[in-house]
């Protein structure tokens, strides 16, 4: 039967610790707005990432609608050429860096520690720093719209268009360079954090080959991030120096070569697309087995093909440059490698089909998104294979055919999977279930709208419609499919509204979700919904892959599923007096992070007036001060340690700051609520009014 742990009464909490460096005391509360600002809890940070990224999704989607309205008819007048350049640049930059990457990291952040049986990530404050840096980077990038004009050189920023300040006047490109540098810091630092977490903090018995496949794919993706980000960092610095200090890197008149920019950018850019899709593939690999009631087909092969994709992904970048004039040897070599990478990718698709085959399929909303992924990603993959043949790519490149290809893999692929993850993990994260009926409407309207939008683009591309044009003449015969695509885009917009309504309805209602609504396989489902602040009451020992499934089921001699007589006990919720020592909240990551955009603004305006660099110096001091304050506070504040606790609950290192009454088991709703669509659910039995009066 369920064990109920009765934590003994605690002594009154000691006074808030004094900081070594700052006059402000270390925060101790996890309640309210301040609690969210100073959080270092991976679950809250995951939610922050997710909500912020979703907000940027809406913004990027709005930009897409602007594009589609402009292109719906020939000689469109909604956007001037310059405005169009800004909109399509920001659409791409936003979707890649401010939506898909952070959404993948949002789920990674929330789920990886849970899936490996850990209490948090390796470096909780660094985690917070990553989030705030991401947020500030996004704000910095978007502030360009009101500070003279947004970046307008495309998300790929080709030199010398972007490296010569005269070609794209204004500060847009400078905002782009510095914005991406800031975001790059967030990503790189986050990658180190998740890699160390995954390698070092797995529960006893959780060997690498017993990890859930989502954890594996995230690990590979984060390692790619770790190694790819520095390359674009260098590219961006070279461009910065060309623009600001007159260096010669991309200047042909002094022997420089703009193609170097392309190499450096795509050396980053190609691994980047695998960074964007691998976590999504991991998500699909989690959802399919649950709703097929069958293990993932060929788990080791799935892992190895993921690793293969990660490696080979470094050897294909020139396929973005087939029309540049690199010569037949280079082009042939990279055609071949691009074809090779289709193999591990195809293997995955077959394994997913194998998972579903003869499974007991249940087409819930997450399952629809996952199956949709397989179909749409396959289409996108096929158009990718046509790109790998350089002769055919010569016709396709720089046309809408390519736009179709990457939207099929990034939207029909990554975004579909991320929506699937949202429906799948929503109960675990927020303690509520999203409505299934609305979810299905969301899926199908998206599916129809998506295919209406991007399907015709294959045709448009082959009929010769170039990319990156702000309008086209009637005589080109492109009007019909463009109009269809625009109708499709607005259909997607309606689907998004359906989703928003679903979230709104779910937040309004207080029907709590069960612990294991999907009869799932992995250990995050052994926890209460929503997850208590300390994650596991007791760190589990893992005996196999799909540990939770094997606690519930076994197979008879004929291989049929048999429910075990003794089911695992329901999840234990220790309540507010759990006594588990956790890392303490901190404001230093936020302070340090704030220094970065200040430095960046100083530099952007420094191109006009040297005095502006003083602002950068101030920003650097803020950053350094933040880092010092951070370095000199302990990860976890020492506290009076009750000896009784040490026996009842395994003590983690050092002392904790979890003061009684301040850490609610359900991590209840922030009173102020930050950001959009605040979805932090309330634990069953909690009432919102309790927290109002808290500090």
């Amino acid at each position: 039967m369920a064990t109920v742990l009765e934590p003994p009464a605690l002594a009154p909490p000691p006074p808030a610790p004094e900081s070594v460096v700052s006059p402000f005391r270390r925060p101790r509360t996890t309640e309210g707005f301040w609690g969210w600002i100073t959080t270092i809890d991976h679950k809250r940070i995951g939610i922050l990432y997710g909500v912020t990224a979703f907000f940027f999704f809406l913004v990027g989607g709005f930009e897409a609608l602007l594009i589609r309205v402009q292109l719906a008819q020939p000689n469109g007048t909604l956007l001037s050429a310059d405005a169009y350049n800004q909109v399509f640049t920001m659409h791409g930059t936003t979707m890649v860096f401010l939506v898909i990457m952070p959404l993948s990291v949002a789920f990674g952040n929330f789920m990886i520690p849970l899936m490996i049986g850990a209490r948090d990530v390796a470096f909780p404050r660094l985690n917070a720093f990553s989030y705030w840096t991401f947020l500030f980077g996004g704000i910095f990038l978007y502030s360009s719209f009101v500070l003279g004009g947004a970046p307008n050189g495309g998300w790929f920023g080709y030199a010398p268009n972007t490296s010569v300040t005269g070609f794209l006047p204004g500060r847009g490109i400078d905002f782009w360079i510095l914005g991406l540098l800031i975001l790059g810091i967030a990503s790189t630092v986050g990658a180190a954090n998740l890699v160390v977490t995954t390698l070092n903090m797995r529960a006893p018995g959780m060997d690498l080959f017993r990890m859930p496949i989502f954890v594996w794919m995230s690990l590979i993706s984060q390692m790619l991030t770790l190694f790819a980000m520095p390359v674009i960092t260098v590219a961006l610095f070279l461009m910065l120096f060309d623009r600001f200090f007159g260096s010669a890197f991309f200047d042909p008149s002094r022997g420089g070569d703009p193609v170097l920019w392309q190499h450096l950018f795509w050396l980053f850019g190609h691994p980047e697309v695998y960074i964007l899709v691998l976590p999504a593939m991991g998500i699909v690999s989690e959802i399919l087995p649950v709703f097929s009631r069958k293990p993932l087909f060929g788990y080791p092969v799935m892992v190895f093909s993921g690793i293969a994709i990660g490696f080979i992904g470094w050897g294909v970048w020139v396929h973005h440059m087939f029309a540049v004039g690199l010569g037949p040897v280079a082009v042939s070599a990279f055609s071949l490698t691009t074809m090779f990478i289709a193999v591990p990718t195809g293997v995955k698709i077959f394994n997913w089909l194998g998972t579903m085959m003869k499974g007991s399929l249940k087409f819930t909303t997450p399952m629809l998104w996952a199956v949709g992924f397989i179909a749409m990603f396959t289409i996108g993959g096929l158009s990718g294979v046509t790109h790998s043949l350089s002769p055919s790519d010569r016709q396709q490149t720089d046309t809408y055919y390519v736009v179709a290809h990457f939207h099929y893999v990034l939207f029909g692929g990554s975004i579909f999977a991320l929506f699937g993850a949202t429906y799948y993990w929503f109960p675990k994260i927020f303690g509520r279930m999203l409505d299934e009926r609305l979810g299905k409407w969301h899926f199908w309207v998206t599916f129809i709208g998506f295919n209406l939008t991007f399907g015709p683009m294959h045709i448009l591309g082959l009929e010769g419609m170039p990319r990156r044009i702000y309008t086209y003449d009637k005589s080109l015969g492109l009007a019909f499919w463009n109009m269809v695509a625009t109708i499709g885009a607005f259909t997607i917009a309606i689907a998004v509204l359906i989703f928003l309504y679903n979230v709104y309805r779910t937040v309004r209602e207080a029907v709590p979700a069960p612990q294991d609504p999907w009869d799932a396989r992995t250990i995050e489902w052994t926890l209460p919904s929503p997850v208590p602040v300390y994650n596991f009451a007791e760190i589990p020992t893992v005996h196999s892959l799909d540990e939770f499934w094997h606690q519930k089921y076994t197979e008879d001699e004929e291989g049929r599923l048999v429910k075990l007589a003794e089911q695992p006990p329901p999840a234990v919720d220790l309540g507010p007096d759990h006594g588990i020592h956790l890392p303490s909240p901190s404001y230093w990551p936020l302070v340090a992070s704030f220094g970065l955009p200040v430095i960046a603004y100083g530099i952007v305006y420094g191109r006009g007036s040297g005095a502006s660099y003083v602002v950068s110096v101030i920003g650097a001091l803020i950053l350094l001060g933040g880092l010092y304050g951070w370095a000199f506070e302990p990860g976890t504040e020492p506290e009076v340690h009750e000896p009784d606790h040490a026996e009842a609950i395994p003590a983690l290192v050092g002392a904790g700051a979890s003061t009684a009454g301040e850490l609610e088991a359900g991590d209840a709703t922030a009173a102020g609520g930050s950001g959009e669509g605040s979805g932090s659910g309330e634990a069953p039995g909690d009432t919102a009014s309790d927290e109002e009066g808290d500090q």
Partner: protein, 115 residues
Amino acid sequence: MSTQAPSADPSIQDQQAEHGLHPTEATYIKVAAILAAITAVEVAVSYWHGLGDGIPPVLIILAAIKFSMVAAYFMHLKMDHLWLRRLFVTGITLAIAVYIAVFLMFGVFQNRIHA
């Protein structure tokens, strides 16, 4: 004494026992002396025009030796856990492979007419 964190995994504990202590100070000084000597050789080779096109490969090999010695002894990689070596070597191998590909495309290894 070893500064490695004790591992929960018994097979790793065995590994740690084998690796034992750090090198002695004498070893470090010896390594430093060798590094200094190699540097001197490198500088000498760079002036040895008789070697012609042989200079770059010789220098690169000497640099690689120095690089490996610092990594192995000063950074303790030789005695440390496999995962560290993997992370580091992956980064380096990737960097080398990828950048050599770029060099090839820029015709870096082709002979040019020079002033």
